[in-house]
Symmetry: C2
Subunit: 76 residues, 2 copies
Amino acid sequence: MKARVHVMLKNGVLDPQGEAVRHALGALGFDGVNGVRQGKVIELDLADGTSEADVTQMCEKLLANTVIESYSVEIG
Amino acid sequence: MKARVHVMLKNGVLDPQGEAVRHALGALGFDGVNGVRQGKVIELDLADGTSEADVTQMCEKLLANTVIESYSVEIG
């Protein structure tokens, strides 16, 4: 089975990487980019029978820093 | 409008970051993790009227290195 985890900085946490992308898009002539947030996506190829709770545990213990990051899990 | 861009290394391109995550998950006792690929997710807050073609141009010119990375765009 496959699982996909999105890890994004929480709202209110400064995202310098996203800001850099926003500036660069403006410099390239793309108007109307009001904001950019950059995060991580982690695609897991898991043995059958792994539960969503297991993936949540992986996020809590390793994949996300829950102090500043939020995560979401998609199965399948 | 919002757009979300996923940027992943193409299949066959070595992903040391994903490999490191796979090893770390194993070391933490999570069995059955057969593979991990890590990529980027970029959330764009765009002015209304920006087309999907504009976002594709952003990917081609800045957000993805199309030699080694593939991207997908979700609008809305």
